[in-house]
Symmetry: C2
Subunit: 366 residues, 2 copies
């Protein structure tokens, strides 16, 4: 059987987990605030962690809601925001597959707006609003988007925020990857530009460790208490042991150095993947070279059907996520998402060579 080199999941590999620093942070938390770590909190989570996050984003701590991962934050936001009134939600096409799923679960009528190399096509968004009226929400992943790898250009950020203000919709900015940038300058967040028109969310999954399950939303002042109550009515509070440990980790100055280390490792993996795709994928394959993050999104040439080929790739030990999964409407049949985050560089070369062979054979017999 072929060795397993999965390109499926956007997770950090175990060598990218800050085991030693987190061990110390947990011990520190259990020494300095055992009752906080072991008792209930409110639905908003750990006060110290909220304050730390608020400080980084320059907002009031009362606007920060720490959740059991950021997907849960998105579900809370959708459930609260869509409880009454219009339910049309626009997302990028392609976008994070699970986001489509939780938005629909909250009753959203989800439609996609195209993405290109500069992120969400804001002209297409404006045209959609012209045609259908303002949506309730627009869900955007502005940096190294999942799955496309594209980053929303600065001028488009300004336009997007302006559209939100003019038409009175709310932007959900989902930014788990923004700090994992190894090329180019950090762009202003939608939260910075759009203030109360924006609900901004992120997570410590990619910057610290997924198993802690700590995500957060920064909500407008009026929405935050409703989100907190909703969280409280769902699970009382998130894990306080996790949040207390994470608060100690951040207070101990571990956050930035580790992000730097993760960023360097990811850059190397991304370079390996782009090089391998250039070398081994069939001519005519295209992708946006990401400036950070976890993913390379490849559009294969006409004649490749990534849904049909997934079984063969999986059997060969090199599964990917098929393009069709990332669209609200049928699309993406020639595309595939490759996560480089969890695979060491030498294995990336081997796996991409194997996968390129499968795509090339399919094309040859098409």
């Amino acid at each position: 059987m072929a060795s397993q080199i999965p390109f499926t999941r956007g997770v950090p590999s175990s060598d990218l987990l800050p085991v030693d620093a987190m061990r110390e942070a947990v011990e520190q938390a259990m020494r300095s605030e055992p009752t906080t770590a072991l008792a209930y909190a409110t639905g908003a989570g750990h006060e110290g962690l909220r304050a730390w996050i608020a400080g980084r984003h320059g907002v009031e701590p009362s606007r920060v809601v720490c959740t059991n991962g950021s997907l849960q934050a998105l579900l809370f936001v959708a459930e609260v925001e869509l409880a009454e009134g219009p339910r049309r939600v626009l997302v990028e096409a392609p976008t994070y597959d699970r986001a489509i799923l939780v938005l629909r679960r909250a009753g959203a009528d989800v439609a996609g707006i195209p993405v290109d190399g500069d992120g969400l096509d804001v002209d297409a968004l404006a045209a959609d609003i012209e045609r259908h009226g303002a949506p309730a929400l627009v869900y955007v992943i502005p940096n190294f988007q999942n799955p496309s790898g594209a980053t929303l250009a600065a001028d488009r950020r300004h336009r997007l925020v302006e559209l939100a203000r003019t038409h009175g919709f709310t932007i959900i900015e989902d930014d788990p990857y923004g700090l994992l940038r190894w090329r180019g300058e950090m762009l202003p967040s939608l939260l910075e530009l759009g203030g109360e028109s924006v609900i901004s969310m992120s997570s410590f999954t990619k910057t610290v460790a997924p198993g802690l399950r700590v995500g957060y939303a920064i909500a407008p002042g009026e929405l935050a208490p409703r989100l907190i109550r909703h969280a409280n009515d769902t699970y009382i509070s998130p894990s306080m042991l996790s949040q207390s440990a994470l608060a100690a980790y951040c207070a101990g100055g571990n956050f930035e150095p580790w992000v730097g280390q993760a960023r360097a490792a990811l850059q190397e993996r991304c370079a390996a993947m782009c090089e391998a795709v250039d070398e081994h994928f069939p001519a005519g394959s295209t992708y946006v070279r990401p400036d950070g993050g976890y993913f390379v999104w490849v559009d294969a040439p006409e004649g490749v059907d990534t849904t049909r080929l997934l079984g063969e790739a999986t059997a060969a030990g090199v599964p990917y996520v098929k393009g069709a999964d990332f669209f609200a409407e049928p699309a993406g049949e020639r595309s595939l998402r490759l996560a480089f985050s969890a695979v060491p560089p030498d294995q990336i070369h081997e796996g991409i060579a194997r996968l390129g062979g499968i795509l090339s054979s399919a094309l040859a017999t098409a």
Copy 2:
């Protein structure tokens, strides 16, 4: 201002948290399985913890779904079970207020069946089924029920399970308090009696620590994978740091001894509360003396309105939860729930004396 002696929340006081043992367990987890504690798992949670829970209940580990607290488990069950088909759900009257809330959120049409000193009135349930047909779900807290303190009698357990089998509905058994029994014999669980007719859930909130946020559901073999997928699509996985620490805690033999200690403390607090209510509450007040758990539920005499008096009691530093909160339909105006779990015995006496005075004055002027 009067000292604060709140009888509101069903939480353990901080002296009932196993701080030292949990500190060791967390360190143990971070030494022996740091990658498990810091990485994603499936929506089912920690494999070792699932196995430990399965062993205690005599079921296959694959049927155990560990969640971010058991309220979240109830929401998952309701969302999956009520997604299609009938939505009538019967609960005890009174029952846990947040359970009514999450059942309704999942689309349930909730109706109450009376509770007496022997728990759910199974004759009344049978009559309701006669009248309205079988419900989709019947939600029951069999031991030291929240809020009534009553325990479902053995013969009623058999009848209930028989009704479920005859009429094809599913029982949700919510049992967070069962191990906190200090009087009488442990009765067979509904899961033991009813097998696949029962979804049984519990939590480590009352037996270890709330801040870990670890609850679980034991589901029929066919349902478990659907719950796990649903959990996965909600928050990927629960906090693995919490579950890994808890698994180490349980494997280290800490579980039973600490439950024994908590049980003894609760028994003392319960005795103090019953004694104080006997002494200070107006004549004609009645309650079921609980054999375990966290709560005493008092029915005050005619003329007392616990909704109206709550403001005064809160101002006097002795808030309770008003009876009306625990019913799906309007009811409970003479009742109140008193949690003794978080208050030391001497303060229980002082607080109940104060509260008794408020009730007595209200009666005198009624």
